[in-house]
């Protein structure tokens, strides 16, 4: 059964959508039988494409729209939103400090 779901979220402040955070979103989106799209400032990206996500150029703290269609649309949107929320707090991962693409705090 197919359905369509859409929710709005915010990138944690200080966490731009660079390679490591984008990679986490790709891995989560790929787990679900759903077509997941992330929209920022009028541009849309497939959540399974790290290159499209990076090309959004989203900085920390901005608003993102996560939408999905397909049999696991609801689970996919929830999962991706959880991943985005967790980017700030993931243990050993990027915290509140600005992160570079290795995921390490930029000031180290």
């Amino acid at each position: 059964m197919s359905s369509s779901v859409e929710r709005t979220t915010q990138l944690p402040p200080g966490v731009p959508l660079h390679a490591r955070p984008a990679g986490r979103i790709v891995r989560e989106a790929s787990r679900h039988d759903a077509t997941v799209t992330i929209t920022f400032d009028g541009d849309s990206a497939s959540a399974r494409s790290i290159l499209e996500l990076l090309a959004l150029g989203a900085e920390g703290g901005v608003e993102l729209v996560v939408s999905a269609s397909g049999s696991e649309a609801a689970g996919a949107v929830d999962g991706v939103i959880d991943v985005i929320a967790g980017l700030a707090a993931a243990p050993g991962g990027p915290g509140q400090a600005p992160v570079d693409d290795s995921g390490e705090p930029a000031d180290q």
């Binding site: 731009p16 390679a19 490591r20 891995r27 290159l51 499209e52 990076l54 290795s102």
Partner: protein, 527 residues
């Protein structure tokens, strides 16, 4: 009707003989080469998948060593190689292009989207994407060479970065329309014992895939469409040469000069494997810049790791003498525009990039006896500065790579020789690069055929070597020779007689040089 026989004369670049059908090859992925350059979109997608697997394997390797952060960087590169948007664009472009061109162009499209955002972090990712394209194109080339129309590679030129494409394939000989004797492709060909003739002229490029050829690397001759009579003569001469080689039996084993340590020069896994199989005591010169001669940015720690990991894994338990990037001179990649300096001078202008390479070497080199070789050292101060950068890199890597690798200076110019007494006070060993030393001492260009290795026998060059040996002896450090001169038996004997403690030569020369230095103690008159 069979085409008529044509004899082409060029310059012998690597000895040996080969007979077979040819594969016409172009290093430019956008230009279809010969008639066998086909391939489909599926080939391009398969190449991207393989690049993704390479990243995954390198990430696993780093993770097994406990470097989770570094592994995560390679994981994101893997996601890029596996990216569905990239795959879709590659498929679309492959409709009317060779697969290698399609994958390079698709990566360029995606890279320029990232570069347009004018964010330095994303610009670095743009370079990662471009590199994925080039790597996939190389795999497609390799795939073609692995199943070639013929066993003799024919090309207009071979760029220095192209050498990695034909090592380990079924190619048994190389014929070039252009090229030079001292090109890096020629050095690798000699290393692998592949016959090679250069400067055969543009007529060579009239040949097409599958044409028959006889190639005599020692004579510098290629025969296209050979007549049956020519082929028979060629085979007879080959057999005579082979039996002649067998008759040069060992000349005795008297040794009263300490036998030097024999290692091999390498820039590829194939050369390392060939060298170890031929009994080399590890690698005396690992050239790290060769895979990056077509790079558009300084290699990052991750890209260096990807290039180095397979080489240094193969050298576990052996001596691995890794030379830091030797860019400049005749090795200028696109990211360096007209550099004023070369070798260590250039590295010290880019300390962060130097440190990134050092970290990659330190991490990949775990498990081998690691030695670092600094190219084109001319003053003690340069080496001391590298030692400082190295100390900081070791600190950054943490306790896993705590051991201090030995740091050596490559001596390749008269200026370096004139400062040798100071250099040996800060070096753990020195290695003489005769290719450049010969060229600069005798005032000839490195690409000049006259700067052949044999010119190292010139008294002016031998005098320079003797000065270096004397200074090293006083400082109680080892002195190696890793230039091509060390691969010439008579010169190798001379070098050992002067007191050189280590020779590093192309894998294919190990047997001959072992034989030559074994009989080193025999007086000239006895022969």
């Amino acid at each position: 009707m069979p085409a008529s026989e044509r004899v082409l004369r060029g310059i012998p670049a690597a000895g040996g003989r080969a007979e077979g059908a040819i594969t016409v090859w172009s290093s430019d992925a956008s230009v279809p080469a010969g008639s066998g350059s086909g391939g489909t979109a599926d080939d391009a997608l398969e190449a991207l998948r393989q690049v993704g697997e390479e990243f995954a394997a390198a990430a696993d390797h780093l993770r097994s060593l406990g470097w989770r952060e570094e592994a995560a960087v390679l994981d994101t590169n893997r996601l890029m190689a596996d990216d569905p948007t990239l795959a879709a664009r590659t498929s679309a472009l492959a409709v009317d292009r060779p697969p290698a061109a399609a994958v390079v162009e698709a990566c360029e499209e995606q890279a320029s989207k990232l570069a347009d955002l004018r964010n330095p972090m994303l610009a670095a990712r743009a370079d990662d994407v471009r590199q994925i394209g080039r790597r996939a194109a190389k795999l497609l080339t390799r795939q073609r060479l692995a199943a070639p129309t013929g066993s003799i590679l024919v090309a207009a030129e071979l760029g220095p970065a192209d050498v990695v494409d034909f090592v380990g394939t079924s190619i048994r000989g190389i014929a070039l329309a252009g090229g030079s004797l001292t090109s890096h492709a020629a050095i690798v060909a000699r290393g692998l014992g592949l016959p090679m003739v250069v400067a055969l002229g543009d007529d060579l490029m009239t040949a097409t895939d599958g044409d028959r050829m006889l190639l005599d690397g020692g004579a510098g001759v290629a025969v296209l469409h050979p007549a049956e009579r020519t082929r028979t003569k060629f085979r007879q001469r080959g057999a005579a040469t082979a039996s002649g080689e067998r008759s040069t039996s060992p000349r005795g084993t008297a040794i009263d000069v300490e036998a030097p340590t024999l290692r091999c020069n390498a820039s590829t896994l194939a050369e390392i494997e060939a060298g170890l199989a031929a009994g080399a005591a590890g690698v005396g010169l690992l050239r790290t810049e060769i895979p990056f001669l077509d790079a558009t940015s300084w290699p990052s720690e991750a890209t260096s790791t990807l290039a180095l990991a397979p080489l240094l894994i193969a050298l576990r338990g052996h001596t691995a003498t890794v030379r830091l990037f030797d860019f400049g001179g005749d090795k200028v990649p696109p990211f360096l525009t007209d550099p004023a300096d070369r070798g260590v001078g250039l590295l010290l202008e880019h300390p962060d990039e130097c440190s990134a390479q050092l970290r990659a070497i330190l991490r990949c080199g775990l498990g081998s006896t690691l030695r670092l070789l600094v190219p084109m050292v001319e003053t003690a101060q340069q080496l001391a500065t590298v030692r400082d950068v190295l100390a900081a890199a070791i600190e950054e890597c943490g306790p896993a790579v705590a051991s201090q690798p030995r740091l050596g200076a490559m001596i390749e110019s008269p200026d370096a020789v004139s400062h040798i007494d100071e250099i040996v006070t800060v070096a753990d060993f020195v290695s003489i690069g005769t290719n450049d030393l010969v060229a600069s001492t005798l005032g000839i260009a490195r690409g000049d055929p006259a700067s052949s290795a044999a010119a190292a026998a010139d008294p002016a060059v031998i005098g320079q070597v003797a000065r270096v040996v004397e200074a090293a002896r006083k400082a109680s450090i080892g002195v190696a020779v890793c230039g091509e001169a060390a691969a010439i038996p008579d010169i190798a004997r001379t070098l050992v007689g002067l007191g050189v403690t280590e020779l590093s030569v192309a894998p294919s020369r190990l047997a001959a040089i072992r034989e030559a230095v074994r009989s080193n103690a025999q007086p000239e008159l006895a022969r």
